[in-house]
């Protein structure tokens, strides 16, 4: 059994993995960039290794430094989380070569499904419907232009490596293709270290429905049902749920079997997700495989009762899958909201900076996977995801109510976040009715502003403000002292003085 794991990631997912390891009795090694010394994952791990300067290419994407850190700490395994090196077949291969267990699929499967173009070919051969698009990586923009003409506009530019909307661009006409391909390549390069992009037909307003799969190293495989992730902005999922309001048991079984067939075709092992687009007529198309633990994995955990991170580690340790397809049931309903450091009222501009105060929601059925705390400075270098709020309840309506209540309890003060925006999504009548598709945000939330405030709150706000003024202590502890807190806490000044004084 593995007894020490290096987590090659940061933020909420590193925290999530550290917690799972701790409960399994496995020691953890965090790695961090110079921008992350104060990050939560560094505080919570058993060991912590500085691996480089802030830019991800110099730290979290630096394979050599990470493998070196794992070897120095005597970690038998590396968990890559999501993003960064999670779907990098070269990294998986390097780990294999160095005798380190990569907690994810084998490098061949990873290479196949990670290369979205080859993956599409494989799936087509295996008899799974795919979306029309390029079947090889283009060598030039001209090649893209030719392909786009064949496929027909609108087309979508996609990064061949990675996911999460990075590198994606929808293009409606030929004039816009070149800049979109170039921008996609830059983003893909910066996010995944691989600039390959390709084109696909852009389907309008489908649902995004994906199936979670677990496969051990002995050919046993189960799916853990679907996640509906249609609520997206710029191809970035922001609300996910399970079960999907669009599936009945028959379609669910059919898609689940297709997902397993896809993974078998790729000779896949460990945890992975098969993404489909589902049209209004219940036709589904293979989109891609996410060969990693996904951001939205908690909704599956809450509804199936299976801890996916633990299963990943067990599978990587060479254990057999302990469950059969028939053991698995969906119970109740789970929804996840991703909390981003973005300003939804101002074109979702990233909002780095100091979080002055966090009040996390809690209570029965409320889970908060976060990497934030009061006083933390959100760095500009990485993905703007701050935390995930996940609720479980007996049915979809109750889950929506619980989510609303939890979002109402959730305060992040000091930077802009998507909390207010998410609340309005959950309470939108079309969302409540389960009528979601990938065009939902564009259609109903194209220009969003925070709703008017409740005039009934004026009195308590006035009372709070005046009471706070009446209390001189508040000012000593709060306002004036806060901006300089870090400085005042620094020992250097003090040490300097004492040394001058002579000891």
């Amino acid at each position: 059994m593995i007894n020490k794991i290096l987590i090659a990631n940061r933020g909420e997912i590193a925290v999530r993995i550290i917690k799972a390891c701790r409960e399994m009795g496995i020691a953890t090694v965090a790695v961090y960039s110079e921008a992350d010394r104060d990050s939560l994952h560094v505080q919570l791990a058993d060991e912590a290794v500085l691996i480089g300067p802030p830019p991800a290419t110099d730290s979290y994407l630096n394979m050599g430094r990470i493998v070196q850190a794992a070897q120095a700490a005597h970690s038998q395994a590396i968990h890559p989380g999501y993003g960064f090196l999670a779907e990098n077949a070269d990294f998986a291969r390097l780990c294999e070569k160095e005798g380190i267990i990569f907690i994810g699929p084998n490098s061949n499967a990873l290479e196949l499904v990670g290369d979205k173009v080859r993956a599409r070919q494989t799936m087509e051969k295996a008899g799974i419907s795919i979306i029309p698009g390029m079947k090889s990586i283009p060598k030039s923009v001209a090649e893209c232009e030719a392909a786009a003409r064949t496929i027909g506009y609108p087309v979508i530019v996609k990064a061949s490596a990675g996911g999460g909307g990075k590198g994606m661009r929808i293009v409606g006409e030929e004039n816009d293709l070149k800049p979109a391909v170039e921008a996609g390549m830059r983003e893909a390069k910066s996010a995944f270290g691989d600039e390959s992009v390709y084109l696909e037909k852009y389907l309008e307003e489908p649902r995004h429905v994906e199936f979670q799969v677990l496969a051990d190293n002995f050919g046993h495989m189960v799916h853990l049902f679907e996640r509906e992730c249609s609520i997206q902005r710029r191809h970035q999922k922001i609300v996910e749920e399970t079960p999907s309001p669009a599936l009945d048991d028959g379609l669910r079984a059919k898609m689940g079997e297709a997902a397993k067939k896809a993974m078998q075709a790729a000779d896949y092992n460990n945890a992975g997700t098969v993404e489909f687009l589902l049209d209004r007529n219940s036709n589904f198309y293979f989109l891609e495989v996410n060969a990693r633990l996904q951001v939205e994995h908690p909704v599956t955990e809450l509804v199936t009762g299976v801890d996916l991170v633990r299963q990943q580690i067990r599978i990587a340790s060479g254990e057999k899958l302990s469950m059969a397809q028939n053991d698995l049931r969906q119970r109740g309903h789970a929804i996840e909201c991703r909390i981003y450091a973005e300003d939804p009222a101002n074109n979702f501009l990233p909002s780095a900076g100091k979080i002055l105060f966090v009040k996390e929601p809690k209570g029965p059925g409320v889970r908060h996977d976060g990497g934030i705390y009061s006083g933390w400075d959100v760095p500009i270098y990485y993905d703007p995801i701050l935390a995930k709020l996940i609720v479980w309840a007996e049915n979809r309506d109750l889950a929506c109510r619980r989510m609303t209540s939890a979002l109402d309890d959730y305060a992040i003060i000091g930077i802009h976040t998507t909390i207010g925006f998410l609340k309005d999504i959950i309470n939108h009548p079309e969302f409540r009715a389960g009528r979601t598709n990938t065009g939902f945000i564009k259609r109903y939330f194209e220009s969003w502003g925070e709703k008017g405030k409740d005039p009934g709150m004026l009195r308590p706000v006035l009372a709070a403000a005046a009471f706070d003024e009446l209390n001189p202590a508040a000012h000593v502890q709060g306002a004036e002292s806060r901006p300089s807190r870090k400085e005042r806490f620094s020992p250097w000044q003090s040490l300097g003085k004492w040394r001058i004084g002579g000891i």
Partner: protein, 168 residues
């Protein structure tokens, strides 16, 4: 004791007095009693006419943020009201446009050169933060007067990037 506040930029004047076990507030001709307890540095428990409120209060330089029932309220003192500047562009009296960084980030591309004519909505530069590229666009036809940044520079919010001169 009287206080003047801007709450979400709207002016309020309130007087506070002690009454029995509570505070008596008077505002805009109406009055109400509030039983207020300091629960912690950042939390107040307020009971007004039997209704209970839990207010989170955070003090930031020249303002307070009061979080109540899922919403934040910005409390400032009149005169100190800081503009909510998000970066972007600013038109000067001399017919120039000052294009500033909308958020902290890194300039990854400058698409124009000094002296170049630009059309409305043309992308002038790209600033990356948190792995997202953000295109800085021109809001109208103009000529690039001066470029104040270079590719790769780490910029703070409101940093001047480009000056444009309007066509006359």
């Amino acid at each position: 004791m009287e206080f003047e506040f801007l709450i979400d930029h709207i002016f309020h004047k309130v007087s506070v007095d002690k009454t029995g076990n509570a505070l008596l507030f008077k505002e805009a001709g109406a009055s109400f009693e509030a039983d207020i307890r300091s629960i912690s540095e950042n939390v107040l428990s307020i009971i007004i006419e039997g209704r209970s409120y839990s207010a989170t209060i955070v003090r930031d330089k020249d303002k307070k943020i009061v979080f109540l029932n899922g919403r934040s309220y910005i409390v400032e003192k009149p005169g100190e009201g800081a503009k909510a500047f998000h970066g972007g562009e600013e038109r000067t009296r001399e017919g120039q446009l000052r294009i500033t960084a909308p958020m902290p980030g890194r300039v990854i591309k400058i698409n124009v050169a000094e002296g170049e004519k630009v059309r409305k909505n043309q992308t002038l530069a790209i600033v990356e933060a948190m792995k997202m590229e953000n295109e800085i666009k021109a809001s109208c036809e103009a000529v690039v007067k001066k470029i104040h940044t270079s590719t790769g520079e780490l910029v703070d919010a409101e940093k001047l990037l480009i000056e444009l001169e309007l066509e006359k």
